[in-house]
Amino acid sequence: MKTRAAFTHSSTLQSALLALAAVVMLVPAYALPVMHLGTFGKPTLDTTILSGVIQLWQDGLAGLAAIVFTASFLVPLLKLAGLTWLLCATVGKPTRHARLLTKVYATIDFIGRWSMLDVFLVAFLSGAVRFGKLASVHPRPGVVAFGAVVVLTMLATHRFDPRVFWLETKRLDELQD
């Protein structure tokens, strides 16, 4: 495979590695429980990210469930998919869709922060609900993995430099001659 100079560009490489680490962390983030809710007179409950969404749905809060599902499931996955697309586009022939890819990058950069929602949620619950045996919330290791996914994808997006798509295009101020 013929690799363009752009891929050896250190920022693209760093971004690829960070994204890879985020993909690895996705598995424990969704498989492990993120928090533990103990209420008096009810069985204790370990919730993962997706079971939290289902619980909201069953409580009749469909809109809220949709928001949380988007922020903590769709956004990280779409972000990683988008990053993969961008990283693939830096390899091989110069891209024909520099403008589209730059827009995709801007979108990924913009939506990235919203997946912190679940981390803030668990943080607030574990800080606020502390009534001993009556009701208490404890964070569980899954939230560390999820936080790592969010931070790693944000770092990967930050490291990626969309100017690699424009390397073959001359800057318009160089076109005077």
Binding site: V119, V129, G147, R171, L175
Partner: protein, 284 residues
């Protein structure tokens, strides 16, 4: 010569490029003229003057941009405005109120002159945010009650929760993203705007701008507001909750942070003061 695939059909036919200093695409922002009975803002777009060409160099305008009246704008001076995404440099545009400058190559919004005033409005937003930051740190965020036992939480509850349960790193992350970064950003913005005209602070001004740029990426107060609201609904059947004044103040702070940052980073760079410009020439 620009590769022809980057040219709009109209320019491909002409193959002539306008001079360097006419290279930002300016679009008119939609103007809100009222609210109708359904509560939806009615929007009227200002018509573009017929004499102004609607093409940007090398871009195919989206229908929205074209309808909004995209056109060229004239240069103010020779200082450069660089697109943060694709690296294209532009001359500093002179924007009228309600106009927005797009990068000529990738279409990113790089400058905006909205309908409020100039720097003073940004400073006002920043200072309002800073003043509200104090009550949002001190006043109760949410009060919880279970079987007569009451618990008052403040803004740092999230940090406290993670820290006391042994998740120190996440506690620091939550503190940074929800509290330190947004409030620090507001402080930096106020300092930058207040010392901008002072030549003695020029070096520090640039440094502070870079810090503000770095810190902004991690400031997400609006996400924390949403997180607390989701928690509020989630806990509805477990404990009794009351929203405290701290949450309102924090919500307002996060709104003002967003508005101030948007206005701040979309304002085109000011032309250099003459004294500094001549000093630079001497140094060369």
């Amino acid at each position: 010569m620009l590769e022809s695939r980057y040219l709009s059909p109209r320019l491909r036919a002409k193959q002539t490029l306008p001079p360097y200093h006419s290279d930002v695409v300016v679009v008119q922002l939609p103007r809100v003229i009222g609210i109708n009975s359904r509560g939806i803002a009615a929007i009227r777009r200002t018509k573009r003057p017929r004499s102004v060409p609607i093409v940007g160099v090398g871009v195919r305008l989206t229908p929205f941009e074209r309808r909004a009246g995209a056109c060229f704008c004239m240069a103010a001076d020779d200082s450069l405005l660089r697109c943060p995404l694709c690296g294209q440099s532009h001359s500093t545009p002179v924007l009228k109120r309600g106009q927005r400058a797009l990068c000529v190559r990738c279409g990113t919004v790089i400058a905006e002159h909205d309908r409020l005033g100039g720097k003073n409005a940004t400073l006002a937003l920043t200072l309002t945010g800073l003043f509200l930051a104090i009550p949002s740190l001190v006043l109760p965020l949410v009060t919880l009650e279970k079987f007569g036992r009451e618990r008052v939480t403040v803004l740092t509850a999230g940090f406290e929760g993670f820290w006391t349960h042994g998740f120190e790193s996440l506690g620091m992350l939550v503190l940074l993203c929800g509290t330190l970064a947004p409030f620090g950003l507001l402080g930096l913005l106020a300092t930058i705007i207040l010392t901008e005209s002072n030549i003695a602070f020029q070096k520090w001004n640039g440094r502070l701008r870079r810090w503000a740029d770095a810190i902004e990426y991690w400031a997400m107060p609006e996400v924390q507001v949403l997180g607390v609201m989701v928690a509020f609904f989630k806990l509805g059947d477990v404990v009794n909750l009351t929203v405290g004044p701290g949450l309102w103040c924090y919500g307002a702070t996060s709104l003002f942070t967003l508005m101030a940052w948007r206005r701040f980073h979309l304002q085109p760079a000011q032309p250099r003061p003459p004294a500094l410009a001549s000093a630079a020439t001497v140094a060369e």
